[in-house]
Amino acid sequence: MKPPPLRIHRPTSIDQTLDLLSEHSVSGKVLAGGQSLVPVLNMRLAAPSDLIDITGVSGLDELTVSGPEGQQEIAVGATVTHRQVERSVDIARANPLLAEALRFVAHPAVRNRGTTVGSLAHADPNGEMPMILALTGGSVDVRSRRGIRTLSAEELNVGPLETCLESDELITRAIFPALPAGSRAGFDELARRSGDYGLAGVGMIVDVEDETVTGLRCGFISVTDIPEVLDLGEVVSGTQIDEVAGVVSRVVDAVRDFIDPGGDIHATADYRRHLAGVIASRLFRRLCRTDNARIQGAQVHTAGNDAGNGTDTGADAGSGTGKGIENDTGRRRA
């Protein structure tokens, strides 16, 4: 398992990068963190002749939260690692959903090197980041020698592991909007092992005004081909926050109806469909719990998952595990 022969270019400016991409558009590939690409190369499932390592390019390491309170934007440059995003207090405040979902991405050693923009470019329907970009209404800035364009998540993702990017194009940064005031957001998934892709996962944003649900949007991992957003505003709007139990089954039905999971060696399609409904149901109830009225920076998921280092965020230690009995199994999901 050694990668095939290849040449690595190490541009230092965006212009150089775009020139190289243009020059090697037939068999060149952008290399950032390499956490998805290098395993593929080591297994010789791909054999690009040229890799353009962008980690030394100045101007791609931007990680900012800007804009007025309530309308903030998070800008994540192409070389910013998952871990840098995850560790940012400002981001956790502006878009806690992003920070929360990041901790489900593989393990810390992979997040230390893997980039958030790289995950978006990889467009894996099992990955958390493409779904979060879609669910939060984010976009990416794309450059080539031919120009600059901004793509919504919907425009970017055209199929499993497939984006609309041309071979000479580079995503220079992703923009994740802050969650709107009054919204409650959460993410959960069930994976076979810690750090594995979820068998099914759900991201959810619930809009609440005056103790009344006014909107509900869901995104999914591992059960749709591309990260489409399901808007269930019509199903839930007007429901009092303490009376959502009455509409949960309609939410679950709508979720199971919307998704299109496939089966594999880890789980059948039917099970994944069932599971996505269960996760959505639990997440919806949890987000609507009146004691979950914290909005910005809230740790709303209770799956007990904190694949992070345990110091930068509050892990919900031991939730969901055996009460009244010694339990050392560590975390589990859902």
Partner: protein, 802 residues
């Protein structure tokens, strides 16, 4: 007296080296050696029509490209059938490089040797093999049907078949008021050590000799087979097993095709050649284990006492049978477990399939046996409405030694030599809180949670012969060198063998230096497998140390003018018992033991011919004696010791997602007196973790074409720390009468009952019969659905499907 080291929790002496980057694993040997890579079959069953290597030859850095035709002499013959057994009706083994046919995905066809592994892989990718495809035989069911045949010339796929009996099972079953039948299934997993296999073969053209470093579990076995295959005098081949990054059984087969091909290439090229297996190769061309389809019929009385047990099982042995029938044989001889079974019959078929070969994986067939017996015990309890522990207690063996009436893997009749199953069960119930569980279950239910408690008991034949040896040498500095021939892959041999030797020789632990698995040092050995290291080499070294001590006391007795029987060794000083004033260091005895002409240092001077005041009128070395404070001794038992234990698991199953969590895991373990409890507990923890993997996460997923769908750590779900429970342990130490130290093996104990204990717990939580392992949330969820639609009885009598 010096405190006895045996039984102490001594931290490991190998650790500082391994922790600071000073381990030396096989890939660390000869870092710049030229490297081999292999073209492997992408097809499960095919004839090879043509091999075109021209694309590889013009790559800069390629040194050699070998196909079957390039193998010399005996190396071109079939690989050996290592363990012949009368039940084997159709022995088939492969070749070092495939000849004409391939029988599984991953079978090596072409060997490329290049300047480094990168280039070797480039070249391997450029070689074209032309195949004529045949239909693959995948899984027990298809193999048993026999409509597709793996090996040409056979009428079916049966590699081995045997019936073993104890008493008259037909009348036992006829007389039983209750009869149950169970259909069971166990899936494939694999040892999956963190270090794959590897070999570095070095040819010395001047000497005409071969030195091989291999991650093997038997350096002596590999040496013998390489000498035979390369047609070299045994003395011209040495095999060294350096540090090994885990084995668990998969490294006992020998020679692996790659070991033989690489050794041949080293000789032909007159250089050093290295092959380091990568993870994908390990998945598709090392060995797997565990897959069996089983049928049990049990007859029992009103009290739950078993009157007759009739078993048939079908064992998937993969494409070839190089390691014989050890796995199914162990299954068949361990089914009766810790119970008195008045009549028993077991019949098995070992079957060829177009998949990776099956050789022992930690437990080696015993986990399958426990699954049959313990699922049966739970079914009896359910049928009679009895507590599951009560049924077991009523059937336990209570008198020891207990003859099993079966011939074991070592060729000897099996006896349960020691144990106290009643006491073990009492301890397990206390540890897990068996009697309080129903109230816990009720409390959980009131919280909307579903929990279950499971149990599994096992016995394990350990410490099989034929023998192991020890060699001890006391240097004139007082340093004690200890050699044993078996290999080490994490078992703390450098610590536990040092404890045994230091105890007997009365020297500080730090003076004792243990070395293993090097045929240059001790060429008589069998290997490390079957929980035999401590029992076999431990006892051999104990006996060797006794001999050394005897010699030391004799020599010291002459110097101290004392009767050797009145002497003792304390902290490296030989003294008259209770009189430290009359003493001499063991190091000085070593000096005296080797009469010298030349004084190269101060201590040597004491051994030279003019050192003594007057000449004695006798030879310096008396008849029957040898110079040096050095001895060799072997231990060979009449039969295997039988260790035992009992596990209990508490699981929680999510009522909606069917996710399965292990809340608690308890182990009662009896391997006799423990040399080092720290090490034994570590073995148990690791064993349980592998059992948990086999219960809930790991399987080898083959498709119908014989492609392994999950040949990576992404899809073969070996548990991380987050998936493995904290293991609570307690020990019984009933000594074995079969060896001087009274010890029994511990290496495989944790793994053997784990999947079964977890199955029992899931069944208890779900009230659905669990008849197949492993179990994942998706499967459990579907079982719930079909169970709601079908029969709800836990103890339903299933009909045999054969």
């Amino acid at each position: 007296m010096t405190t006895r080291l045996f039984g102490q929790k001594i931290t490991r002496r190998e650790d500082p080296r391994l922790l600071t980057g000073h381990g030396r694993y096989v890939d660390d040997v000869s870092g710049t050696a030229i490297a081999a890579a292999f073209v492997r079959s992408p097809h499960a069953h095919a004839d090879i029509l043509d091999i075109d290597v021209t694309g590889a030859l013009d790559i800069d850095g390629v040194i050699a490209v070998w196909t079957y035709e390039d193998l010399p002499g005996q190396a071109a013959e079939r690989l050996p059938m290592l363990i012949p057994h009368p039940s084997i009706v159709a022995p088939h083994t492969g070749y070092a490089l495939a000849k004409d046919h391939v029988n599984f995905v991953g079978e090596p066809i072409v060997m490329v040797i290049a300047k480094d592994r990168y280039i070797a892989e480039d070249a391997a990718n450029r070689i074209d093999v032309d195949y004529s495809f045949k239909e693959a035989v995948v899984g027990v069911e298809q193999s048993r049907e026999g409509t597709r045949i793996v090996h040409e010339g056979m009428d079916d796929n049966v590699a081995a078949h045997i019936v073993q009996k104890v008493g008259d099972v037909d009348s036992g079953l006829d007389s039983a008021p209750y009869v149950l039948e169970l259909d069971l299934e166990f899936e494939r997993s694999a040892c999956m050590p963190m270090e794959g296999k590897g070999v570095v073969a070095s040819w010395d053209p001047g000497e005409g000799s071969l030195e091989v470093h291999s991650s093997t579990q038997t350096s002596t076995g590999l040496r013998a087979v390489l000498a035979a295959k390369l047609e070299l005098p045994l003395t011209k081949v040495e095999v060294i097993t350096p540090d090994v990054g885990g084995a668990f059984g998969v490294k006992i087969n020998h020679p692996w095709p790659e070991e033989l091909a690489v050794a041949c290439a080293a000789r032909a090229l007159e250089t050093t050649v290295k092959w380091t297996e990568d993870r994908r190769e390990h998945f598709i061309s090392s060995a797997h284990e565990r897959a069996q389809t089983q049928w049990v019929k049990v007859g029992f009385d009103d009290e739950g006492r078993i009157l007759g047990l009739d078993v048939k099982f079908w064992h998937d042995n993969g494409a070839y049978l190089p390691y014989g029938v050890i796995v199914p044989l162990n299954t068949s001889t361990h089914i009766m477990g810790p119970y008195v079974i008045p009549s028993f019959r077991v019949e098995y078929w070992s079957l060829y399939t177009n998949t990776v070969i099956v050789t022992p994986y930690r437990g080696a067939g015993r986990a399958h046996a426990v699954f049959m017996m313990e699922r049966t015990m739970d079914a009896i309890a359910a049928e009679l409405g009895l507590d599951r522990t009560e049924v077991r207690l009523r059937n336990f063996v209570r008198d020891f030694p207990h003859p099993m009436g079966l011939r074991m893997q070592d060729g000897a009749e099996g006896y349960i030599d020691s144990g106290d199953f009643v006491a073990s069960m009492a301890r397990l119930k206390e540890l897990v809180g068996w009697d309080d569980f129903e109230s816990y279950r009720e409390q959980a239910r009131s919280e909307g949670r579903r929990v279950g408690l499971g149990i599994a008991c096992y016995i394990e034949s350990t410490g099989a012969g034929p023998y192991e040896g020890g060699h001890i040498e006391v240097e004139t500095s007082g340093r004690v060198n200890v050699w044993t021939g078996l290999t080490t892959h994490g078992q703390a041999h450098a610590t536990v063998f040092a404890q045994i030797v230091a105890d007997e020789l009365g020297v500080p632990l730090d003076n004792v230096h243990v070395s293993t698995g090097d045929t240059r040092k001790l060429s008589y050995s069998v290997g490390t497998w079957g929980s035999r290291g401590a029992v076999m080499a431990g006892n051999a070294l104990h006996l060797t140390a006794k001999k050394v001590k005897e010699k030391a006391l004799k020599i010291a007795g002459e110097s101290l003018e004392a009767d050797p029987q009145d002497l003792e060794i304390v902290d490296g000083m030989i003294q008259v018992q209770g009189d430290p004033s009359s003493s001499m260091p063991l190091a000085a005895v070593s000096v005296l033991s080797n009469p010298l002409r030349y004084a190269f240092d101060e201590s040597a001077r004491a051994a030279t011919q003019f050192a003594k005041e007057s000449a004695a009128d006798e030879p310096s070395i008396k008849g029957g004696e040898q110079p040096g404070l050095e001895e060799q001794e072997f231990f060979s038992p009449v039969r295997s010791t039988v260790a035992n234990g009992m596990h209990a698991a508490i699981v929680e199953t999510d009522p909606e997602t069917a996710d399965i969590k292990i809340l608690r895991y308890c182990v009662i373990h009896d391997c006799g007196p423990m040399v080092n409890p720290l090490v034994v507990e570590g073995q148990v923890h690791g064993g349980v973790a592998q059992g948990v993997g086999g219960a809930l996460y790991e399987k080898m997923a083959y498709d119908t074409d014989g492609q392994l769908l999950n040949a990576s750590f992404m899809d073969f779900l070996m548990p991380f720390a987050s998936e493995v429970p904290h293991v609570e342990t307690d020990h019984l130490e009933t000594p074995s009468p079969l060896n001087p130290l009274g010890i029994k093996g511990a290496g495989e104990a944790g793994t053997i009952p784990a999947a079964t204990a977890i199955a029992s717990a899931i069944e208890d939580a779900e009230r659905i019969p669990i008849r197949s392992m492993p179990l994942d949330p998706s499967t459990l969820w579907h079982m719930r659905t079909s169970h709601r639609e079908g029969d709800n009885s836990l103890s339903r009598v299933t009909s045999p499907n054969h």
